[in-house]
């Protein structure tokens, strides 16, 4: 009989995020996706003798912002080191990275876990380093090298092995992308390869009280969230199978290995053993000066951080009673979220109305043009005015939507919705006498429906709605449907008692 197995997947992630600077990390060459190969190079990023790197302040600042948003501690003293390796995509023969004193360390990010519980993934370190160039292999026997990417600033983020399933890794990575975009520290475009992932995976197997651990597999260079999820899924099965086939396939006995993800076959493939671990011979880069930070400066950067997407989402739900789904949609874009907050200005009533206008007609109209709501109609003042008008019954909901769509078609500036409503003759009639007169007229013209409302049990419920619609028609959409409904109900009651 085979003793039953329980398995637990253990995953730590290394993630490279390209920072959204205009220029490279150590020289003034422009960062430009898709430029002519080797056209964005200079003596510094070509690694020519005698050239000297100088740190890009924007890259360092963005790194600190990102690290702080991941709740990292910021080093008071940080430095850069040379990591030696010989490949043509890095012509200096070393990469400038950070070895023992990363700029950020001991942070964490929370992701959604089961049953509304959040899970904490600890961040071991975040360090600023340069990217290598690109090798192309489309010529037999040769590699073609493009050094445009050489020297691109990357923040490398390393988590603790706190992730225990593929879905959590997926959620963590997508959450990190959202955060990076929110902070404005990275465009985090997957298409442009601005986020790359390397999960380190092994499995803890328990059989009859005995615990076994498989060797760690590092899956190299994944460039999509799905690949991260699928590769972890695959590895957590593959490693158990390999252990079942050979009980010496355990950590310490068998060596750790690098594997690559084959998306076509949906499997990882063995690349090399890590037994011959690379000896990178790190040493401090003498060309770059260390950077020191003060607590005051770090505090001031922390204060300027925007509210994180997760925190913001929770706040919209708890403060305004939005559904989680609606809150997610609003928060998905930072501009939209800020517009929402500015227009609503803490007023719960306005929040509901704002949500339905923003996520309904406005979002569709913006999406059709592949834009966000806040880029099409950015004025919070105008939004607030419109939302208030609908809320106060100055215009009804459908008129509000009509005004909004018209405004979004025509201009991106400030809009005077009140004037616009007057010009379009959409201001609701508040005069009860006028509305009563319309009700009288509709009752006279629609005797069938009136009789239904009075005495047809099958139609008594639907008839008042029909009559309300008629009154709205007669009024040219200007009657306040709430008042009209009340007037109709009162009139029917009156007729019944007569």
């Amino acid at each position: 009989m085979v003793a039953s197995l329980t398995t637990k997947t253990i995953v730590g992630l290394e993630i490279h995020v390209q920072l959204a600077t205009r220029t490279k990390l150590f020289c003034g060459c422009a960062l430009e996706f898709g430029a002519t190969p080797n056209s964005r190079t200079c003596p510094v990023c070509l690694g020519l003798p005698g050239s000297l790197p100088v740190m890009n302040r924007a890259a360092f600042d963005a790194s600190v912002r990102f690290a702080l948003a991941m709740n990292c501690k910021i080093a008071t003293y940080t430095k850069w080191d040379r990591k030696s390796y010989y490949y043509p995509d890095l012509p200096k023969n070393y990469q400038i990275s950070q070895y023992d004193l990363p700029l950020g360390y001991e942070g964490y990010c929370d992701i959604d876990g089961d049953e509304g519980q959040s899970k904490r993934i600890r961040i071991r370190r975040a360090h600023l380093e340069e990217d290598a160039g690109k090798n192309l292999h489309d010529v037999p026997g040769c590699s073609l090298v493009d050094l445009n990417r050489t020297g691109t600033p990357l923040l490398e983020i390393v988590t603790e092995p706190d992730i225990d399933c593929a879905q959590d890794a997926f959620d963590f990575c997508t959450g990190l992308q959202k955060l990076a975009v929110y902070l404005g520290v990275s465009e985090a475009s997957m298409q442009k390869g601005q986020m790359r992932f390397e999960p380190n995976i092994n499995v803890e197997i328990t059989r009859g009280g005995e615990v076994f651990r498989t060797p760690i597999a590092e899956v190299k260079n994944l460039n999509s969230f799905r690949a991260v999820r699928d590769a972890i899924e695959y590895e957590s099965k593959r490693q158990v199978q390999d252990w079942l086939a050979d009980e010496d396939y355990v950590f310490g006995k068998a060596s750790n290995e690098n594997r690559g993800w084959n998306a076509d076959k949906q499997m990882t493939e063995y690349q090399r053993s890590k037994e011959a671990a690379h000896d990178y011979r790190y040493f401090p880069d003498p060309d770059l000066m260390p950077v020191t930070t003060t607590a005051d400066w770090v505090d001031s950067v922390r204060k300027e951080l925007p509210e994180s997407p997760t925190v913001r989402c929770d706040r919209l739900v708890s403060a305004f009673g939005l559904s989680q789904g609606d809150a997610d949609l609003i928060v998905a874009d930072r501009g939209d979220a800020e517009l929402f907050d500015a227009a609503v200005d803490g007023d719960k009533k306005l929040a509901k109305r704002m949500t339905s206008l923003m996520l309904g007609a406005a979002k569709k109209s913006a999406n059709d043009r592949e834009l966000t709501v806040s880029t099409v109609l950015p004025s919070a003042t105008s939004w607030q005015q419109l939302v208030r008008m609908v809320e106060d019954g100055v215009v009804n909901a459908s008129a509000g939507e009509r005004l909004l769509l018209e405004a979004m078609e025509n201009t991106a500036g400030e809009i005077d919705f009140e004037q616009m409503a007057k010009d379009r003759n959409l201001v609701q009639v508040q005069d009860v006498g006028q509305m009563s007169a319309w009700v009288e007229q509709v009752f006279t013209e629609n005797d069938g429906a009136v009789q239904d409302a009075l005495s047809n049990p099958k139609k008594a419920k639907a008839a008042p709605g029909f009559l309300t619609g008629k009154v709205m028609q007669v009024s040219g959409g200007k009657a306040d449907p709430k008042v009209v409904r009340q007037l109709i109900a009162a009139k029917i009651k009156e007729m019944q008692t007569e």
């Binding site: 003034g28 080797n38 070509l46 030696s84 890095l90 073609l144 190299k220 000066m289």
Partner: protein, 101 residues
């Protein structure tokens, strides 16, 4: 004097440095590198008790430049000394064991 480096150390360093050395050269390098390391090793005689580790001899910190684009030299200049090129790529012998950053 006992050698500070063994021949196998030197072979390892040669591999890391992508150098192909003959057995004679290995023997010679072991001799010479040992002498160099031995010379530098004199530093370990200095008492550094209580001295904070330092990465730089110069007391300069926080040297930054602004994120302003400067002209690149252009592909043709970049490729001027390349032994081989293909369009505006450097053309090099095929890289097999490609590691990523």
């Amino acid at each position: 004097m006992a050698k500070l480096l063994t021949e196998s150390d030197v072979r390892h360093i040669a591999t890391l440095s992508r150098l192909q050395l003959s057995d004679n050269e290995i023997a010679m390098m072991t001799e010479e590198l040992s002498a160099i390391v031995g010379y530098v090793d004199q530093l370990s005689e200095v008492d550094v008790e209580g001295v904070v580790p330092t990465a730089h001899a110069v007391e300069v910190q926080n040297v930054f430049r602004d994120d302003v684009v400067r002209d690149s030299i252009g592909a043709d200049k970049a490729l001027a000394n390349a032994p081989e090129r293909e369009e505006t790529f450097f053309k090099v012998p095929k890289v097999l064991d490609q590691d990523t950053v």
